[in-house]
């Protein structure tokens, strides 16, 4: 009877210790290679949805992908909010003639991902056609179980 009680106590102790450990680890960064790869794949999927939505001017989908606090800086150094960006897309002020992105790299910091890449898409905005290759940074953040774009900036690649 005494042994049985002792065993029960040890099991209880183990359970409590496990709960405490889980609580203590909550919020800390702990990501193995597998979860990093999984995160990269999730972000890539969202990025591909964004690419498609931009080409098809699917403002409803972009509304879901863009964070409400989106900071968007284009190749001319102009800064836009989410509302401005969606309004321009909806009004047809942003027009993609071709779409090409490549050379992605990712840095995963828990629920934040820094994604960089190169684009040579041909896009018309404010009457100007931009064909210059450019580097961009996209910052994705997972909120409410959904990856959202919180910041984007693009810079033309200067031919040295």
């Amino acid at each position: 009877m005494q042994n049985h009680r002792g065993l029960k106590f040890r099991v209880l102790l183990l359970c409590v210790a496990s709960v405490v450990r889980v609580c203590c680890l909550a919020g800390q960064e702990k990501h193995d290679d597998k979860s990093v790869l999984q995160t990269e794949n999730e972000v890539l999927k969202v990025e591909e949805s964004r690419d498609k939505a931009l080409q098809e001017r699917d403002v409803a989908l972009l509304d879901k992908i863009y964070s409400d606090q989106l900071v968007f800086v284009n190749t001319r150094g102009q800064k836009f909010t989410k509302a401005q960006r969606l309004a321009d897309l909806g009004a047809g002020k942003v027009e993609y003639f071709s779409y090409n992105q490549e050379g992605y790299s990712y840095h995963v910091y828990g629920n934040t991902v820094v994604m960089t890449g190169r684009t040579s898409s041909v896009v018309k905005f404010q009457g100007r056609v931009n064909k210059i290759p450019r580097l961009f940074t996209n910052i994705y953040l997972k909120t409410g179980g959904q990856w959202r774009l919180v910041a984007h900036q693009a810079t033309p690649i200067v031919d040295e």
Partner: protein, 157 residues
């Protein structure tokens, strides 16, 4: 024996509560406090660049730093620090304004405008530019994880 068990369980639970409370404290820092902390780190970063304080720069930049300059050149942390150490990248003056901050817990997006005079590989750049800097709190220290700058085009062209 029973008292001992209660004491052990209570201690473990108390430690757990303290751990969770500490994590919560960090989250309870107000957005205004976080913005001030980020500005302080950014100022420290500029000072370190001007003084070539490599130890401070190492501490203030994440190992995975992605830095894209106005020429569309991407540098990692080692490359970026080498540009500063070698004198290829020099901040002759520092002038930034028009900040906006988006705080997402331990991730902060800082956007602004710079009119700093920068010498890069012997060429002086005075043109205004827009930048986005991303700071993440890693092991209790705010660190720059990404920075990108883009020249502000003259719209009269």
């Amino acid at each position: 024996m029973r008292k001992l068990r209660v004491a052990v369980l209570t201690t473990i639970l108390a430690l757990g509560v303290i751990g969770v409370a500490k994590a919560q404290d960090a989250k309870n820092e107000s957005d205004a406090e976080i913005q001030r902390a980020i500005l302080a780190v950014d100022n420290e970063r500029y000072e370190a660049m001007q003084k070539k304080d490599m130890a401070a720069l190492d501490r203030l930049h994440a190992d995975g730093l992605v830095f894209i300059n106005t020429k569309g050149r991407m540098l990692n942390k080692a490359e970026y620090m080498e540009e500063i150490r070698s004198g290829n990248l020099k901040f002759l003056t520092v002038e930034t304004d028009d900040y906006t901050f988006c705080v997402y817990g331990d991730t902060v997006i800082m956007s602004g405008r710079a009119k700093s005079v920068v010498e890069y590989h012997g060429v002086v750049n005075k043109k205004p530019r827009r930048f986005t800097s991303v700071f993440i709190k890693i092991q209790g220290q705010w660190r720059l994880v990404a920075h990108q700058a883009t020249l502000i085009a003259d719209e009269s062209n």
